[in-house]
Amino acid sequence: MRALLILCVLAAMSLNAHGAEFHIAIITASDQEQPVRGQSFAGIQTQIDRPVHRAAELALHESSTSFSVFNITPVLRAINLDASANYHSQLKGLHPDSLVIVDTPEDTFIELTHILNQLGLITVNVRHTSPHLRDSLCMETLYHTIPSDRMYFDALVQFLIYSNWRKVLVIHGPSEVDHARAETLNNSLLKFGADVSDVREFTLSHHPDDRDNNKPEFITGGASYDVVAVVDTARDFGRYIQYRTRRARPVVGDVGLVPRGWHRTLERYGAPQLNERYRVFDSQTQLPASEAMSDAEFATWSAIKLITNSLNTIGTGTESLSVKSIMEHPDAQVDLYKGTRGSVRRWNHQLRQPILLTTADAVIAVAPMPKFLHPHHYVDTLGLDEPESVCQLD
């Protein structure tokens, strides 16, 4: 208990001039991006996808005091891949101890993780939420700071059980991703003992022949349920279900009450300061008050802060910074401004974190919900726990 711990303390004057460098690379592939707008048209945007760079710059801005104390110089590189050229040759020039943040479509992402793994580079997924990727891309070099769909849906289902809304009508879209995510939702519903009253697939048309599947009043009819859970990755249809359900029931999932990693209206845990900084830290590009980090941006910010916060918790000293050794260290930790610190699940390298249950303008709850207890770690009731994970890295 009274272990004498003498850790790094330094007088600001005595800093050595030969500091370390902290290399960060952000990899994008803009010519492979498809505008995410499902089958909506006429320029109507249902999701805003900003590049993650601003969040990276914010994380570096926030870490500037730490950098001066630890005598570290951050080096941020942005690489936008040329799809017509060899990826390996475009990446091999990266510093061998970089934090490589990848924000590309899934196919490219999978390809890149293998190349980066060969190069021995620490790679961070800040975009893809599929739990399948956590299981199938089981690599020592790969980390996921974006929550998995399993974390999002576990958080949502905990909220449903906590609210005693146990009977759930699931409505999902027709795409492959919608099917996969509906399956993930189903696993979460099973895990926490919800009752699935029915699973239905909507059709995006107005044709009278399809009305059982295209009219919200019809697709939500003929069943008994406490709540409607919608899986609609492209935001084509789900946003028309609220207020048009046959029974007067709340809508959750991709619309209504939405589980998120970050939100502009979180008002506790220092979150207002972080949101304010995100908007104004760069005097050239200030954002309006309605803007906040997307989950991908928050995941990017989290990855960089995991490194800089861990300088304190691991106490690696002041003259070196190794991205690799910090990411592999069991005491790597990050202050996420969500009331509980973040750390890395050693079995699949997922960043553990609370999940916010949000509406358009409020955070309704922060999961884990009360009474959902885990034997080892407070937030490990969310997502693939060690026994459930196919990936077993440690």
Partner: protein
């Protein structure tokens, strides 16, 4: 028979009444609580009853007793000012403007200086309370919160929540002389002899540093039954008047810890309200008042029996408390 029983009843009643009068005289106090969301100042008595509620300013947070015994200094974060309230007349007697995002206050009475952390500005301000003059602006890491000044008024300690540092400043030259690296999200700093206690909200511990070498000498890690380490989010630290016990509010763990200062053993965890963070101690060392930030209430603990005595509603988001005789 009936008559005499009645008499006994009256006697018993009188005795109880007298006892209560003596009791409340012995233990009486008046405490002031800032409520950061409802923007008011609530004064409570020994029983936790609200004596007076006064709308005070926008987002009142840190407080400290002023130079005179009837003065209370209050940081009004969203009004960017610090005010001086006369608690007898309930009149705001002086306003110090341009104190951007004022959060936590510390005072050095002998040199009549007030030390203020400016949360949104990454700095602390040193103010001369007699002249109202700003003596210095001390640059810090982001989100400075806890601030303390040594008894001899020579050094200032400021915690930067975001940077995970405690900055040490010379209080004569106002230059930074050292940086103490802490665990995640250092919140409050408290000086005790040659030791600096720092609560690490996201590191779930209290770290103790030497004020001579700034080396870490000890740490206290909390583990009340039924909670996981990461739910320990300590904020306020308070020492009792006898130098025996330290009290630490454990935030999301909804407990307050009694720590033996000598052995650093955690002697008792007491269940209070949700997100326990602000702490106040009665001048007679008998009552510990815990502010519960998420359940909008406060719990008064009897220190001798180590039991909660009463829990009552505060305003919206009670933040800080100052206790007067």
């Amino acid at each position: 028979m009936v008559y005499s029983r009645k008499l006994h009843g009256v006697q018993a009643g009188l005795t109880a009444c007298l006892a209560m009068m003596l009791f409340s005289q012995a233990y009486a106090f008046e405490a002031y609580i800032t409520n950061e969301r409802s923007g008011d100042l609530v004064s409570i008595d020994y029983d936790g009853k609200a004596v007076h509620v006064q709308p005070i300013c926008n987002r009142p947070r840190g407080m400290v007793k002023g130079l005179e015994s009837n003065q209370l200094l209050i940081a009004c974060s969203d009004d960017n000012k610090v005010i001086r309230l006369n608690i007898q007349t309930q009149v705001v007697e002086q306003t110090f403007d341009n104190m951007r995002g004022a959060m936590t206050l510390a005072i050095h009475r002998a040199s009549h200086r007030l030390f203020i952390t400016n949360e949104g500005e990454a700095q602390a301000t040193v103010l001369d309370l007699r002249t109202g003059e700003v003596l210095a602006e001390l640059p810090t890491g982001l989100e400075p919160d806890g601030i303390a000044v040594t008894a001899d008024g020579t050094r200032i300690f400021v915690a930067s929540e975001n940077a995970g540092l405690v900055h040490v400043f010379d209080a004569a030259t106002y230059t930074q002389t050292a940086t103490i690296i802490t665990h995640l999200r250092p919140r409050r700093v408290a000086l005790l002899g040659d030791r600096l206690w720092v609560s690490s909200e996201m590191g779930s511990r209290v770290e103790i540093f030497s004020t001579d070498t700034y080396a870490k000498t000890d740490e206290v890690i909390f583990a009340p039954k039924g909670f996981r380490s990461e739910q320990m989010t300590p904020v306020d630290i308070l020492f009792d008047h006898t130098g025996t016990l330290a009290f630490v509010a454990l935030g999301s763990a909804n407990h307050v810890a009694f720590v033996n200062i000598e052995t650093l053993e955690i002697e008792k965890y007491i269940l209070v309200g949700r997100r326990a963070w602000g702490l106040g101690l009665s001048p007679d060392n008998q009552s510990l008042i815990v502010l519960n930030g998420l359940s909008d209430d406060f719990t008064i603990i009897d220190i001798e029996s180590r039991r909660p005595r009463v829990t009552r509603q505060a305003g919206l988001i009670p933040h800080a408390i100052e206790v007067f005789e």
